[in-house]
Symmetry: D4
Subunit: 249 residues, 8 copies
């Protein structure tokens, strides 16, 4: 709770406009709803500058519809629903208008931002990293960022990556997505002079352990300027990348 | 290698100023030295906008002196030496002027930047996270950033953290450092609207597994906008934080 | 075997009421049945003060029916069946009257206790932790406890949790349920002055490793007064919470 | 922050006794000190009902002395210092009167409680679990509990444990401490009808993995009523046991 | 290759009965068949004293039939097929007479030994360990051993186990089967004076990790005389138990 | 990019045949295509001496067809598609002529090499390792090597392996494939005097952990001359074996 | 407690020889001592047929002396002290006559059995496994067994093992000791027709993980008749081997 | 044992030159010595084409001297002793002439091969990988290979590696040595057309887990033609590289 809000409440009490018990209530009044199964956060746009996002994986279509409606009624313009299966998307789409992007498993309710800024480069090691990459790309676009896609530029054919040195050098922030050995982040980190957010993917077999190898490899990147998010967390990478891209606004 | 450089070389060849074999040499000429045991990178300041840093842990005092001198002879103003033991620091200090900060185990050769900008908040869970925090703080300062230190604000006494909501809300980027359960990053991530770089520390015992629990906990942070670096990697966090803090320059 | 029982048997032998061989039999006579596939414990209510509970996961509907009947014939008033699938519940329900709670996957045979005491607070980090939370809540109610449900109060929006400081401060014992980073237990532990039983859940993806991250995080809680049960073990947490809540009876 | 405190501050503002800016200050005034390297919590005794405890492992003797004095000046009667090496204890003892118990590595500054209540049984699997057991025992005694010590009653000679069935049956709460296979908790859990707090120890070799095997074994205890704390965390177990033992006060 | 065989061949060469090249062939002639996909071992009964056993899991019904027939044509009286699904068993049963035991997933082709000796006790922690227990029991019977089944005698109700002290004391070898915490082996190990073969099972959830916890617990058993086989390996335990039971024949 | 190519381009620039901007284009022109979802490498045959191989697992049939056609249009004679399911193979086969080998899950588009050289021995521990072995065998044959198959020669019946000492002694390179304990590689390594490439397989159960045990065992082989590839990576082993077998060409 | 003992006590009660309260005492009277820090088991020789063994690692010299004397005063003829450092041995040797075997770190107090039987073969993979092998060998000899030592017969030079086929074929039980890849157990298991007890050792580096690789490899042995004890547990293997070797006595 | 030897023995028997019992002896006579603590392999040079190597880590100086002498007396010209500490080297050097290379911890007894062939490139990621690299380099040289050292060419400054494309393209076999993220192997694998043997090193901290991250990363290399040896196993890599380099001799 911000200093300003407390100040206003206290001044109302001082001026007699607000009784003590009402002030307590105001201090305690929650900037979030309570749907029983969830407590949507109406003030996040104010507090954190971006829209509320619904993580769709652990929720029923009905819960998603409920939370979305509740958010939109409280003034949210765009609601992003991540990890949304095709089936649930179909059901959600019957109740609220939904722009569903299947490859990234993201649903968008409401209007997208008309203005986009900066330059987020999203690079992947291989073709199979696409779902994670698209989760990141659509999230980034929905949060008002321009996205440059560099897919299938893995280090085992380093010339494919080097051919894009220019895009890498001119990026404001880069999201490096790779499974298997996860070396992409370190190599890009050595080429670029902007922050790199690395996303390990669960692509691979055997000793890739569902993305753990890529995760560990990325955490041990010898290149400076690389940080890492959870396995397959394209959304999280895009969210932070957007924060960085909008710095100074 | 940048487009501009290739272009210049090719034009020299076209104009007859440069022979073919000299051009090959130029294309291949390495922007780094070769000390036998190491290949210091003289162009990184140009290519990546910051100074070369020497990771002191795996090197002898003589190797560190050699690389430092070689870098400074090529125009580097500040050389940061991380993971530098007191003993090695003493020996290095005999050959080159060294400002040694024991708690963060960092040595600074050369002059620090006189101008600092922005506002990097560095928060720690407990008193024992100090060495990692100071590695981060000194690195950030050496790279030209203002640092706000919030030490011992772990989540088990959440009021200590909440008392600093204002500093957290006004930061441009935050470094959250914690061992044990590593929950600090997630809680700060929910309060702040700027990027959080989380650093797990090897502080703890038993099932803390030398920082692995904190690392995993941070990677699973439910708060958006959090990314993670390697265990105890205060330097890496500060390096990326500095990149973010200097965006728009 | 209790001192009292041995004493009685020995006195009967001393008085000649009981032959030596009968006494041996009595000493050895088992306070449990033997259905071949299971040995239901008829005396646990006496020995441990609560009803026998059937862990439904590894058993067929017929085995569950058999054990339930056997227990009720020996005087058990309430039989709780945990980890009971909808399908098995339907089949069991045909043979014995069953109150089935689908979300917590618990079946209740027999009558619930009419009197409940105390105040067990059950808090969850998110919406997806509900199944585990309900397993805990129903178990607690079936064992004679009042339950206060605080769902979706995860640490990434710490104000949602702080809005309930009063409930937390007045609890007699708290069950903190969370997946992903599992930080809820530590934060509540810092606010409350009663025992906290932490339950990690298998909710999450990637480096959450099916609840292991939450488990480790909870074990490393910096807050005192926190202990932990197995991943998703809502029943176990409620069972111990009930023991604590009934202390002094 | 409690409701009562906010209410009082607001009433002072309403009555004109307190200016708005002073009220803000009061709301924000921290119930903890700030020694630079640490923020000791002066109100914990009020807020959580027990004394502040200093985790000695990651702190210098000077830091420990500083925090201890700061706490005692704020009215703390007993200060417990855990994980305190002999050497540090000697140094601390020069500045503040210290009762040092070497086997449990605990230092006690100030007076111990004169009144103790209840019955906490502390059982260990073997002789080598003693240090952890004594950390638990002394902590429990310092927090005002009677302790019954049952050492070396591991399950590989089950008759040694069964000989103490009476103590186990009459305990109010039991702390079961074991390394290696960690089976002690489950066996006691099947005998007792009170809460069991299990402490895995790092005793063992090979596949005991520094206590991980005992930890996992205890988390998987088939007996109900068992919860677990971190490896070697005798203090944590005693702290929670004390909370349980004092319920109803 | 045994001394006797080489000796006979060499004598035949010395006597001129066998040419050098035939001798080479004889020395190299393999005591196993070659079906392309498998090399059944016809001499194992001779070499190791028991029948060849087919591990059914990784093989098709046709391969199992092929190997079985090939073995029986070479004089094998009983062929045991472990890890045999119901479906495969049905298909195999169409080609060769098969006695299929569904609970232990074992098929028996040929006649069982008419004489059995000794006393192998098979104890399980719970009802869900039955499939592994029956794999062990049927294997042991097929190899000519008497089996005493003690099912559902887990340590969380230690009196159920103690009621069978007599069977345990009189066993020649004991197979202790348990999942979850796996403590059964250690407790039995403390009671018995014969070898214990412990079998961890994959029964459990959460931190039981598919039997790893039970495995580790059993390996760390404080009781002497306990050794361990792979998770769920009822067959392996029975095979070794049978070897031990037949010692001295 | 090779010296020769750069030299030619530079000479063309020097001679005026090529403009500077065209030269830049040529230097940057990628020796790979860009299908959007993939960047097939047309020059690999030139650069690395073998054909491009498509890893089929993470790709749709349409993507596989697209990449295959694109490669063949650029002059590739043989395209190998590994990890290709029967269903996808059927669909691919409708668009391009495909020789599908089901057991090794490999599709071959185009003509196989008519000449094969050398002697690659492929040995497996058991019948269930066949799929991995055939992936290796077909890959090796497609890359122009003769293959000797030694299947089901695991170490638990060492005489089956010793019967093939001659093939092992005369191999130019050996691929040792085994799951479970993975001991095959070490034993063969002690017999042979050529490089051994070990392939752990995911065959097994319990503590085989999907091939991790075999992998670790092989990495710890006491025999010199053994190196290891990823679990189930028959293709990778054959690829390197072929490289070794073709040395000196 | 055995049936016979209970019977005798009850008969004394029936005959009036024993009062009821004395009988209770007798039933409860513990067949073990209580030294405070330890509860030595005086009846184990009776109950389990062998001497009590002291695990020296976690105990002080004084504790070892105390327990040894206490055992010998209760009639124990031989006391084995395992994991006994040279220094402690020297100190123990001052108080009680001690035969110390340094390589196996075993101390023997009292007289060794004059009669030994059977044939326990102890085989090791390499020279560095000697300490574990000698712990096993001396234990076995102290328990009355003949031992055949086959050291340095690892599988990477399989002919060294095969040269001892005769000893292996004629053993009554075999202890197979190996670090690194741990393949020795499986290969011996395929040659022998007696029980194999495998002991993984912590010998090795890198991915041997202090014996874990050998442990896992041995648990996955494809040979039947192999069971496993904890890493470096030479004593445990010898104890069980002795039990097996003495069967039928 | 080779066919030729058996044939010769059999012919001697046929011709009467050899008695049957002598032939048995000859067949069984071991091509290795028996020093009690070790069985040196005198025939390996014959059987495998290279010298016997002594792994120094687990052996005393006296054992190393004993084995070395025994080998040299049996005609070995060069004996390589790996993992040899300075201290042991000094002691060994007193008994046998020893050329000790400290950085790679290798001792060479006897004369080095005068002729070397081929071209083994040894590349390292950083300066701290030197000890492993030198173990590999000296081993390779001792086995008769030319070595090209490319040290400190890690992927975080990819231009340092690309500057050596020519050496990489012209190598016959490459050893890629790296700790931390271990990406070097994959990047080199994409550039080269010869076999790559990857050696993970234990260099790094935090989530590098003593080389495990590099190991996993290398096993998951997307580049074909890469195989892996144990962590820090420079010797093993060089041994196999030498085998490959000498193919066709």
């Amino acid at each position: 709770m911000e200093r300003g809000e407390i100040e206003k409440i206290l001044q109302s009490v001082a001026s007699g406009e607000l009784s003590v018990s009402d002030a307590i209530l105001a201090v305690k009044s929650e900037p979030f709803g309570d749907l029983g199964y969830a407590k949507p956060d109406y003030h996040r746009a104010v507090r954190q500058g971006v829209s509320e996002v619904i993580y769709g994986a652990g929720k029923t279509a009905q819960q998603i519809i409920g939370i979305s409606k509740s958010l939109m009624e409280h003034g949210q313009k765009t609601v992003l629903i991540t990890r949304l299966d095709k089936e649930k998307a179909d059901e959600v789409g019957k109740s609220i208008p939904l722009d569903y992007r299947e490859i990234g498993k993201i649903g968008i309710a409401g209007s997208l931002p008309t203005e986009r800024k900066g330059n987020i480069v999203i690079a992947t090691g291989g073709t199979s990293d696409l779902p994670v990459a698209e989760e990141a790309a659509i999230t980034a676009e929905a949060l008002g960022n321009n996205v440059v896609r560099l897919y299938d530029v893995g280090v085992s054919g380093i010339h494919r990556l080097l051919a894009h040195t220019e895009e890498i050098m001119s990026a404001k922030v880069i999201i490096a997505i790779a499974g298997m050995e996860g070396a992409l982040a370190g190599v890009i980190g050595g080429l670029a002079d902007c922050p790199i957010i690395a996303v390990p993917t669960s692509v691979g077999y055997g000793a890739s352990f569902g993305g753990v190898t890529a995760l560990l490899s990325m955490l041990n990147s010898c290149a400076s300027g690389v940080s890492v998010v959870n396995i397959d967390n394209g959304f999280g990478a895009a969210y932070q990348a957007s924060m960085i891209n909008h710095i100074g606004e």
